[in-house]
Amino acid sequence: MKGFRKALEVVISISVLTALWELIALAGRFEKSLFPSPAAVLAGISELVEDQTLFANIKVSLVRFFTGYLSAVAAGIGLGLLLGWNKSIWAFVDPVVQILRPISPIAWFPFIVLWFGIGDAPAVVIIFIAAFFPVLLSTVSGVGNVDLIYLKVAENFGIKEPRLLFKIILPAAFPMIVNGLHLALGSAWVFLVAGEMVGAQSGLGFMIIDARNSLRTDLVLAGIIIIGLLGFLLDRLIRILEDRIKSRWMALPGVED
């Protein structure tokens, strides 16, 4: 029943938006290329499906995305564990991170091209930068907030470093790390497109630039919608993972009192 209602809400919300959009396109008599109608965009999507560019580009984008994202996750969690545990080192690293973090990955683009060339690498590097900081920071703070009782239990049962890090600290910090993974996924997806718009000859971002260059705004909008849908799907997937982990971890033993 709840699922049905939810589905109904989604269908209604999207239908109303599409209807409004079509109405404005019809009533406003805009230049077609300045305001493509839903029908035109739908036709654009099927055109992209037919000439096989859509799935090829999605595949390229997803491969880049996961390469950049997963390596950022590995690096962020690994470094976050070490730095979160060694607070004296983190005290020196933290200021640097705080300065680097607010810089848009795109700002590095000139250097990225100089260092990594063109092709897949720039987009991957930009995704890496976008995902790295949220993962690093959430890991450091997760490690810093591990419940003292776990450390006592570990000490009592003779679990010492480095086993302590992997057996106790990492899993205990995991709910907070997963928060970071979720945040990172969102921002990495945003920068995937940006990265592909400036430095790639394939992928969803490039698909949009390519359509713009041939003045096919219907395809531009088609690309935008596909990106939105895929981003939404990825977000759902990681949310399922997040919920699963939290339902097991968060209901911590003994907090019922």
Binding site: K152, V153, N156, F157, I159, I168, R248, A251, L252, P253
Partner: protein, 206 residues
């Protein structure tokens, strides 16, 4: 003397508030296999004393000796049981009980065998593949007990272990502890602020 507590004090120093004395010159002697219940109101220092015996903390003055050796750090020979159990929520019951055995020279099979034996002892064999969150408070405390017993410590330190349990569950747990104490011949230090609970254990008062 098995456990010797000699003029033990523990003071906490605060920047602005000066010194708080949690324990002052405590003397105590405990024989092997004894069941000692520490009764007192909240904040009287009984948990502090337990923490010192466990080795999580060190006295500001005085010494604690166990088997003639001065306590300076925690050991598998004295396992603390906490009020909020301290189970690892990402591990199943079986894996929780195996925790203390993982550092020892045992094969996977031996480890499992020992863990299952103690899970059986606390009557949770049917739940060995459950996660802590799927168990009631009483069952979680049984898991903590099995985990402690699995490393075969000589001393069990229990810090208000049934404080979060309802009265009925508490009574069954008390019987269980009594049975295990007699069967396994452990030395048990039991902290509580509940007079009724203390009287359950009482055979001798000083």
């Amino acid at each position: 003397m098995y456990i010797l507590i000699n003029e033990v004090s523990r003071e906490y120093f605060f920047k602005d508030k000066g010194v708080t004395v949690a324990l002052e010159k405590i003397d105590m002697e405990i024989e092997k296999g004894e069941f000692v219940c520490l009764l007192g109101p909240s904040g009287c220092g009984k948990s502090t004393l337990l923490n010192l015996i466990a080795g999580f903390d060190v006295p500001t003055s005085g010494v604690i000796k166990i088997n003639g050796e001065i306590v300076t750090k925690p050991s598998k020979n004295r396992i603390m049981i906490f009020q909020n159990y301290g189970l690892l929520p990402w591990r199943t019951v079986l894996k929780n009980v195996e925790l203390g055995l993982e550092g020892e020279k045992l094969t996977k099979k031996e480890r499992r065998f020992i863990a299952e034996e103690y899970i059986e002892l606390v009557g949770l064999s049917a739940y060995k593949n459950h996660y802590p969150v799927q168990l009631s408070g009483g069952m979680q405390q049984r898991v903590a007990l099995a985990r402690a017993l699995a490393v075969d410590p000589e001393i069990l330190l229990m810090d208000e272990p049934f404080g979060a349990l309802d009265a009925m569950t508490r009574m069954t747990m008390q019987d269980e502890i009594e049975r295990i104490w007699k069967e396994k011949k452990k030395t048990i230090l039991f902290v509580t602020h509940d007079i009724e609970e203390a009287f359950f254990w009482l055979t001798e008062l000083w």
